[in-house]
């Protein structure tokens, strides 16, 4: 579903690649023992290594390396047995060493691929170019003093994974789907919490346009794109901007641009000529990083079931539609909820109740799944009552509403309110006889050929039974009696 943009000179194709910075979940930093907890007092989590005191040396955090390997495996990527930390040199007050330790020519993770799910239900593969480890910078604070800036080094040295995609993305929808899927995988792996609003996941978007099938255009890199909505908006704006330039006979400049969410525009940060010369070279304080096949295999053995595997299992083993499966696997907690609710139940019915009633209900009440008044087993109980004909689907909705309010088990509510479905054919027959007796004209009309009146009789019976009569039994007996 490659989306094309109509310009004055015809259609244009968007070519998009993404660089995502994901903060690694780890208790300590990439090269020091300082804590990584979010929201601490400024400069309270800074070791003498992070502050780049003279003579201080980096020591790689083995757990972070494992996390990167785990992520690489989750992205179906090649793990490089040898990778090299290099120094990226530039001056900035929140970069104490005067260089960032990163990986350049030899990243820890090489090429891979992930599947993204598009809104029309189709699936597309997006190539992963690489994943490398690097240090985060500190934070400059400019609003505390009229002329001075302050520096908070708490974040300085925290481990980041930079995940670079191939330029396989063809529009804002795909970009959003890519980012969502990537975030989902990282959360499943528990290697990054994916919280874009806390900055633990940040995206840079490389955008160019071309005539469909034509040579690649010149790209601009958009920074500060820090939410899914911003990705969509920034791409929409930038693509329009580039097409306008090209259609006016101009040339797109290769540059870094900043997304301004307030003005809803991208603007130039620095051109190619102004780009830093980072003078990368292998960090002589660190030996090449070796990861053995045994280590990789050991990490592989700890991998959880990943979203796509789960999705396919839900479709095959539970017979769910692709859409239902992808809604359920979007969050690991949601998938776990579903599986608990579907335990010993009709999975399709359970999926319907999770997706349509539960998620809708929670959304309406502004609740997260973990705060749900109805626990998974309780929803499973409700589904079981429907399946074994204890209550009808219609009654079940009332029971569900009551469960949302009180948190009580479905069976308790059904019992208390006497909502049990009437399946006793004698009782149903009695009601039907009453209805037939009360509506002689309609009975005559039905028997005279007005088939549509059947629904009227069903309605009357259900009404008299307060919805508790088993619909299948009502149908059957009615047909017999009306003959």
């Amino acid at each position: 579903m490659a989306q094309l943009i109509k310009g004055e000179t015809g259609e244009w194709e968007m070519v998009i690649g993404m660089e995502v910075h994901a903060q690694v979940i780890a208790n300590s930093k990439l090269f020091s023992g300082a804590s990584t907890a979010f929201g601490a007092e400024p400069n309270s989590q800074v070791s003498i290594v992070d502050a780049a005191m003279p003579g201080m040396l980096p020591v790689p955090n083995a757990f972070v390396v494992e996390q990167a390997v785990k992520t690489g495996l989750g992205l179906n990527s090649k793990i490089n047995h040898t990778s090299v930390f290099e120094r990226k040199n530039y001056f900035y007050p929140d970069l104490p060493q005067g260089y960032q330790i990163s990986q350049f020519e030899h990243p820890i993770v090489g090429e891979g691929v992930i599947e993204i799910d598009l809104p029309d239900g189709s699936v597309k593969e997006i190539g992963i170019t690489r994943l490398h480890l690097e240090q985060d910078a500190g934070k400059s604070v400019h609003d505390q003093h009229p002329t001075k800036s302050y520096v908070d080094l708490n974040r300085s040295g925290c481990a980041l994974m930079e995940i670079v995609s191939e330029p396989d993305i063809r529009g804002p929808e795909e970009a959003v789907a890519y980012l969502s899927k990537l975030r989902m995988i990282l959360r499943y792996l528990e290697t990054c919490d994916g919280n874009m609003d806390e900055g633990s996941m940040r995206a840079d978007v490389n955008i160019s346009v071309r005539k469909p099938g034509g040579p690649l255009g010149i790209r601009a890199e958009i920074k500060n794109v820090n939410s899914l909505k911003a990705v969509q908006q920034a791409i929409d704006f930038e693509v329009r901007r580039q097409i306008e330039i090209l259609e006016d006979g101009g040339e797109v400049v290769q540059e870094t641009r900043l997304w301004d969410p307030a003005k809803m525009e991208t603007r130039s940060m620095r051109s190619k000529e102004e780009a830093h010369d980072y003078r990368y070279f292998p960090d002589p304080d660190l030996l090449p990083l070796h990861v053995t096949q045994e280590q990789i295999d050991a990490i592989k053995a700890t991998l959880p079931e990943l979203p796509d595997e789960k999705k396919h299992r839900f479709m095959q083993a539970h017979g769910l539609s692709a859409y239902d499966a992808s809604v359920l696997i979007a969050e690991k907690a949601r998938a776990d909820y579903f599986e608990a609710a579907a335990n010993n139940n009709d999975p399709k019915l359970a999926a319907n109740w999770v997706i349509n009633e539960l998620l809708g209900g929670l959304n309406k009440d502004g609740l997260d799944l973990e705060d749900s008044p109805i626990k998974a087993e309780q929803l499973g109980g409700l589904v079981a009552l429907i399946s074994d004909n204890t209550i009808s689907g219609k009654i079940a909705k009332d029971v569900f509403a009551e469960m949302m309010k009180s948190g009580k088990d479905a069976a308790v509510i059904v019992e208390e309110k006497g909502l049990k479905q009437v399946t006793d054919t004698g009782a149903i027959e009695a009601i039907i006889d009453e209805v037939i007796a009360e509506n002689p004209d309609n009975v005559a009309a039905y028997r005279g050929g007005k088939d549509k009146l059947f629904g009227f009789f069903v309605g009357q019976v259900m009404k008299k039974s307060q919805g508790k009569a088993n619909p299948a039994a009502v149908n059957e007996i009615l047909k017999e009696k009306l003959g």
Binding site: M53, P54, G55, N89, F91, P93, P96, G98, D285
Partner: protein
């Protein structure tokens, strides 16, 4: 009391053990020597109070029967090692008043073994130099003088202060760092023994970094055995330094006086350079003859790439330095010169904080790492480095150790060569290959030249084979019987 300053470390340890004198007395004698030789400018920071306190504690420990390997021995520390009890300047204005809250691994090990810190010694700024002329705290004067003229001489560099104070008997031994010869060349110029161990033998944690892939801590003393004793104390794996090797440190005292019988000593012909004075050539031959007389076999070997060591070094080291010194930006510690804005502050701080030689190397390093030049310079230099490593591997298939002069010259008058950096850089021509390849190497005094100035011989061996270096060094030491004293001391005695 002044006799105490002429003792070797080994003899002093025996004297302390026999209660002939106390660590406080030994330390006081060296404090007196430090004060009486202050004209040499060998120390940036003297720490007499600390030294006496440590010495008193040492005496208590010894009395309590828990004497460490260097219990009560007064040592000097090159001002590149961060110490908790005294500022660490790297002889630079930018760190003039820097007080580290931590202690380097190497100094920590010495103190744990009972050693006493008498002071922090002068050096070329950030260890960049071969004359000790680039120090922000002024040059160091060599305790030796020529009998041909009356000019003050350089002690060599960059560890010039450490070499001078061991030679002048104000410390029994001293720590140095050697990036390209910064221990060996000054040892040669001051008639002292100086060793740079294998790269990775000593932790670099807490040593101000100059060129990380080359920097290595080492020691000065007046005998080979004293050097081995000090190195024994400060070597070993440190998990805080990823480049320190997890290799056991042998007990070197077991190999003392084993002689060189049966050893093969290589003489690399490429070290015979144009313009080298005859007396150095002669001493080299003499050294080979001594070893042959002691039962070693002398073999001619070839190291075809050794001559490219200096140009390769002057790309790799400045490249690393340009990055290592970026942290001195006036933001967190050290000198800050206020400016109109951030960039202005950076520029003013670094312009005022760094001396000319440091600036020169930062510029060279920045240049060779720049886009478009990286492959031509940095990558090529790394290739040369690998070829030099290969050269060493090959020659060590043919011999156990190499013997060469330490330096192509002797201590020269202060101020000379300052206008000719290339000539200054050639001071390291014989010491550079072992630095680039990470080999252990030592300079041992071999004799005096015609002007009465000391000349050193360099011994190199395979990685982790300091033992062979010590064995050969001891044999040279025995044969050379170097007992000459620097003029400063003979003059004082007269």
């Amino acid at each position: 009391m002044s006799d105490l300053t002429h003792l070797t470390i080994k003899n002093a340890l025996e004297g302390l053990d026999k209660k002939e004198f106390s660590a406080v007395e030994l330390t006081q004698a060296h404090i007196n020597a430090m004060e009486s030789t202050r004209e040499l400018n060998a120390y940036i920071t003297e720490t007499p109070e600390l030294a006496l306190k440590q010495a008193a504690e040492s005496d208590k420990r010894r009395a309590g029967g828990e004497a460490g390997l260097l219990e009560g021995i007064p040592l000097a520390v090159k001002d590149m090692f961060c110490t908790k009890d005294a500022r660490t300047t790297a002889a630079s204005h930018i760190l003039e008043n820097y007080q580290s809250p931590y202690e380097s691994t190497v100094t920590e090990k010495l103190w744990q073994d009972g050693a006493v810190m008498i002071g922090k010694t002068n050096l070329d700024e950030f260890a960049m130099g071969a004359s000790n002329m680039t120090s922000y705290f002024g040059n160091v004067i060599n305790p030796w003088r020529s009998n041909a003229h009356d000019k003050d001489l350089v002690p060599g560099g960059s560890s010039g202060g450490s070499a001078a104070c061991v030679s002048a008997r104000s410390a029994m031994g001293a720590l140095g760092t050697d990036t390209n010869g910064s221990i060996r060349q000054p040892a040669s110029y001051t008639g002292t023994v100086g060793i740079k161990p294998t790269y990775g033998r000593c932790s670099r944690w807490g040593i101000v970094a100059f060129a990380s892939s080359l920097d290595q801590a080492g020691v000065f003393a007046r005998t080979v055995e004293d050097c081995a004793l000090m190195l024994q104390s400060c070597s070993g794996h440190d998990p805080k330094d990823s480049t320190s090797a997890n290799i056991e440190v042998p007990d070197w005292s077991n190999s003392f006086n084993n002689g060189v019988k049966g050893m093969k000593i290589g003489i690399p012909k490429e070290f015979r350079v144009d313009g080298m004075p005859d007396e150095i050539e002669k001493l080299w031959q003499q050294g080979a003859d001594w070893l042959k007389d002691a039962g070693a076999e002398i073999v001619d070997v070839s190291m075809p790439h050794a001559k490219y060591a200096i140009p390769a070094y002057y790309i790799v080291a400045p490249a690393e330095a340009s990055s290592n010194l970026a942290r001195y930006d006036g933001v967190r510690y050290g000198l800050r010169v206020e400016g109109e804005n951030l960039i202005d502050m950076y520029e003013k701080t670094r312009a005022e904080g760094f001396g000319d030689e440091v600036k020169r190397r930062i510029m060279i390093g920045t240049y060779v790492l720049s886009a478009g030049y990286y492959d031509a310079y940095y990558i090529k230099a790394q290739k040369i480095r690998r070829l030099i490593v290969e050269d060493f591997k090959k020659v060590f298939e043919e011999c156990d150790a190499l013997l060469t002069p330490t330096s192509p010259g002797v201590a020269f008058p202060i101020g000379e060569r300052m206008d000719d950096p290339i000539k200054m850089y050639l001071e390291d021509i014989f010491t550079s290959p072992a630095s680039l390849a990470g080999m252990p190497a030592m300079s041992v005094p071999g004799g005096l030249n015609g002007e009465g100035l000391p000349l050193g011989l360099q011994i190199m061996a395979k990685p982790w084979d300091e033992e062979s270096v010590f064995r050969v060094g001891q044999e040279i030491e025995k044969a050379a019987n170097f007992t000459a004293l620097p003029n400063l001391l003979t003059k004082a005695a007269a």
